[in-house]
């Protein structure tokens, strides 16, 4: 019989010192001597594979060369001119599957240049010293509505400002930043970095942010069409995918993203209640972030259960190993079949082992097992929320519940561009959202200028 687990969910499991240690910087920044050694390993490749692998196309050998010559401001400019959130991306990018995977150093030594930490080394001083690198272009008199205050929207707004346009960001949350502010493990972005970065982006001027307003609830797309010269939508994924099991509303069955957001906003993380036994369903970064963070809050047993193998997990091999060395157990090839509850509280889960059938599809093997759980976290993906979907479907071409765009991030509706997680085919990376915003802004600028010339 599952034990009475209500008492198992409690806060204050660890001392303040332990909490502070567990949630300190995951990768401490490089000092100058370390940075120079790391930078010296860069071969300054022609048409560098790392740059090609970067979704925002940062000239990586270029910025590393500038680190070598102590031209840190120049280095930061090289990074931020392509990716205004280069600071955050230095912290959260899965570099091991992007730039660092492409590094030619892998050929003979399997140890890439430490691009992520070098990028942080170059960009941190810009925020720390508030160095102005970008200025607003000559004012065009055009206004653009930006729906969503996450990486895509803010990147778009910043680029529009550089190009001389004004923008209004409609942000559904209390603070701008989107997943940078609410959706990333606390130890990846300490010292309120997300907000400091947002402030830096907004300091260019010409960007008005309206918080606590939601598309579909507070306004419609058509409300914006008359008032603005163009619209960019980057509202992200507002709702969490369900497991599709009975009793999913039982107490203790939680959305991983909500808890991650709560953790990020908590003044004192030790006050957050956590169970003895945690089970996380999913295989992406959200699953890793919730698993490791609950372990670091003092949970005794944390299991991630994923229905396929390690190669298919959305989380990189590095992230998987990080979770495992943090004390998280990862089980593969099993899917939840039943939520076990007692008095409307979850007490455990039943799983069926899975395998690939002859068509390569995941299928149950019939073999089952169960795990006790005080809390079950759902982390099997997110989708555009019902309300938002209602506000755009029928207006914009959609596929699989996401917005269809062309290469310039233009939607099917004239005057409307889109980017970030809400776009069909997007890879859910911050860096790609930033790139979407940048490309859309450049396209919007071109559109508005052509329109002015023609008008």
């Amino acid at each position: 019989m599952p034990k009475d687990n209500k008492a198992a969910i409690r806060s204050g499991r660890l001392s303040d010192e332990e909490i502070a240690r567990n949630f300190s910087d995951m990768h401490p920044p490089l000092g100058r001597p370390e940075a120079l050694i790391a930078a010296d390993r860069c071969y300054f490749c022609f048409d560098a594979p790392c740059t090609t692998a970067c979704p925002t196309g940062i000239d990586i050998p270029g910025f590393i060369q500038k680190i070598r010559s102590d031209n840190i401001t120049g280095s930061a400019h090289t990074i931020l001119r392509e990716n205004i959130m280069g600071g955050m991306c230095a912290r959260v990018c899965p570099t091991e599957v992007l730039c660092e995977e492409a590094c030619v150093r892998h050929t003979h030594e399997d140890k890439p240049v430490n691009i992520g930490l070098l990028q942080r080394y170059a960009t941190d001083p810009v925020l720390d010293k508030n160095i102005t690198l970008f200025e607003r272009g000559p004012e065009s008199g055009k206004r653009i509505a930006i729906v969503g205050g996450g990486p895509a929207g803010l990147s778009c707004a910043h680029r529009l400002s550089m190009l001389g346009h004004a923008s209004v960001v409609f942000n559904r949350d209390e603070k701008p930043g989107g997943l940078n502010e609410y959706g990333i493990a606390a130890y990846k972005t300490v010292n309120d970095f997300a907000q400091r970065e947002v402030e830096y982006i907004l300091s260019i001027g010409g960007i008005e942010v309206r918080n606590n307003v939601s598309l579909g609830e507070d306004f419609k797309l058509s409300d914006l069409q008359g008032e603005f010269d163009a619209i960019f939508v980057g509202f992200g994924l507002g709702s969490v995918n369900e497991l599709g099991l009975a009793n999913e509303d039982a107490e203790g069955v939680l959305n991983a993203v909500d808890y991650i957001a709560e953790l990020r906003q908590a003044k004192n993380k030790g006050n957050l209640p956590v169970g003895d036994r945690i089970v996380v369903i999913g295989g992406g970064m959200t699953a890793i972030d919730i698993a490791v963070q609950t372990k670091r809050l003092g949970a005794e047993h944390v299991d991630i259960v994923y229905r396929r193998g390690p190669e298919q997990m959305g989380a990189s091999r590095y992230e998987q190993e990080f979770a495992q060395t943090s004390g998280v157990n990862i089980s593969h090839w099993a899917k939840p079949t039943k939520l076990l509850t007692a008095e409307q509280r979850v007490v455990g889960l039943e799983f069926e082992r899975t395998a690939l059938d002859k068509d390569g599809k995941v299928t149950g093997t019939g073999e089952s097992y169960s795990l006790n759980a005080d809390i079950v976290f759902k982390a099997i993906g997110q989708s555009v929320s019902e309300e938002t979907l209602g506000a755009v479907s029928g207006t914009l071409d959609m596929q699989s519940g996401k917005i269809v765009t062309d290469d310039c991030r233009k939607t099917s509706l004239p005057g409307v561009w889109a980017g970030g997680d809400c776009v069909y085919g997007h890879d859910d990376l911050t860096v790609s959202a930033v790139q979407d915003g940048k490309i859309a802004a450049i396209a919007i600028d071109k559109y508005l200028r052509e329109e002015s010339n023609n008008g």
Binding site: L36, Y43, C45, F46, D47, P49, R105
Partner: protein, 433 residues
């Protein structure tokens, strides 16, 4: 095991590695440590007249660093010894007594008056030292007082002072040359004409290291002002090797024994000097950067190399590369090499492509069938060796000799016949056969 013992103009040492006259040989304490570590000999830091000179009490050294902060060039403004002559002579006498098997040569620098040489040379020889080295090379400070490089830049002065020294000395006299001349041969000949038993080279090169980027003053400075120094270390080795080779291959100076100096930091550098005609080598900067322990690699690296080459002594190596040094006009213009990239070793960095494309002959591809791929285009390759020089992977790009067929670049058949500029048809001044 090859024999590393060395007999340089009658001065014997257990190996050919001497510490050069410089800060590491200023005191008995240092020289003792060097001999304990296994150094074959030492040239005592230059002695001068009493009262001793005075050195600055601020920065005397500064360095040119590689990116990983290895010292690749080094600069100093230290003058000759600033200790009383008597103290130095007592220590030299004691060291020679304690280390009879090591070479102990004394460097001296004296004003251009015969009587001064007559006074000091016997006094110094009386210590039991094995030889003199005449410092006609220091380019800073002492040269302003008419000594050091000020002598070394005037062949007549070199000859005169060498003669004065030889008159009073019964032990070998080595003349140390300055590289701050346009042609090393006249100073070397002057030393020989003055009776020198050998020359040693190079001394340091005139240098200013850099500017201080905060103050926009020269760096380093003494109380806000700086003065040029003498440059040494790895970065000067090629300059020194050229001068050594010139003396070795010139028939007037070829018989002059050479002690090679300049940027030697491992045994391979020593091989360069020995093969280009030096009979032994002297080292300072590498010791000042890493300490005396580097002697271990110098000695057993050289010994293993000689074994591999089937040579039983250092002597067999001396001068081996000299016949391969010639004037440009004698190079075979019919000889063709082309670069070849080993695709198994290539890491696809593309450095060879971009430098060839930007600065040379557009002879390396960047793609093949739309894929990243770097390969030499024989039709364009002039065999310049730039790609070999910049490739970060040792051995990935090699130069290959084309011995027959057609040179894809010129469309001309490869000729087995050597032709140099002196006989080339494009040379209006060519020798008629």
């Amino acid at each position: 095991m090859a024999d590393l013992t060395c007999d340089f103009v009658g001065i014997k040492s257990p190996n050919p590695f001497w510490l050069a006259s410089a800060p590491p040989t200023d005191k008995a304490y240092n020289v003792n440590r060097a001999f304990e570590a296994g150094w074959g000999g030492a040239v005592w830091k230059t002695l001068g007249e009493d009262p001793p000179i005075v050195n600055v009490n601020g920065p005397r050294y500064s360095a040119l660093h590689s990116n990983e902060r290895r010292v690749i060039g080094f600069n100093n403004i230290e003058l000759i010894t600033d200790r009383p002559l008597g103290v130095n002579l007592d220590e030299i006498r004691q060291i020679k007594k304690d280390w009879p098997d090591r070479a102990l040569v004394v460097s001296i620098m004296l004003p251009m008056e015969e009587k001064t040489w007559a006074k000091y040379v016997p006094m110094i020889e009386d210590t039991g030292a094995d030889g003199f080295e005449l410092n006609f090379g220091c380019p800073h400070g002492m040269s302003e007082r008419g000594m050091g490089a000020a002598v070394g830049q005037v062949p007549e002065y070199i000859q005169m002072a060498t003669e004065w020294c030889k008159k009073s000395a019964s032990i070998p006299v080595i003349v140390k040359l300055t590289p701050n001349v346009s042609n090393i041969l006249p100073p070397a000949s002057a030393a020989r004409d003055g009776g020198a038993d050998a020359v040693s080279l190079i001394n340091t090169v005139n240098s200013i290291m850099r500017v201080n980027y905060d103050t926009l003053t020269m760096y380093p400075t003494t109380d806000g002002m700086g003065s040029h120094g003498g440059y040494c270390g790895q970065a000067v080795k090629p300059i020194a090797l050229h001068m050594v080779a010139e003396i070795s291959r010139n028939k007037d100076t070829a018989d002059l024994p050479i002690s090679g100096i300049g940027g030697i930091s491992d045994w391979r550098d020593a091989v360069d000097y020995l093969a280009l005609g030096a009979s032994n080598v002297q080292i300072c900067t590498a010791a000042m950067v890493y300490g005396f322990k580097i002697i271990d690699d110098l000695t057993d690296g050289l010994s293993n190399f000689l074994d591999q080459k089937g040579m039983s002594s250092v002597e067999e190596l001396v001068g081996r590369a000299v016949p391969s040094v010639t004037d440009w006009q004698h190079l075979n213009l019919n000889y063709v090499e082309k670069a070849h990239i080993d695709q198994d070793l290539c890491i696809d960095c593309g450095r060879c492509h971009v430098v060839c494309e930007d600065t040379s002959h557009q002879a390396i591809t960047s793609t093949l069938n739309g894929e990243r791929h770097f390969e030499v285009i024989d039709e364009e390759c002039v065999g310049c060796n730039l790609c070999v020089s910049v490739c970060p992977v040792d051995g990935c790009i090699t130069m290959q000799h084309i011995t027959d067929g057609i040179d894809a670049r010129t469309g001309q058949p490869i000729s087995k016949e050597a032709i140099d500029w002196t006989t080339h048809p494009n040379n209006p001044m060519r020798k008629q056969s």
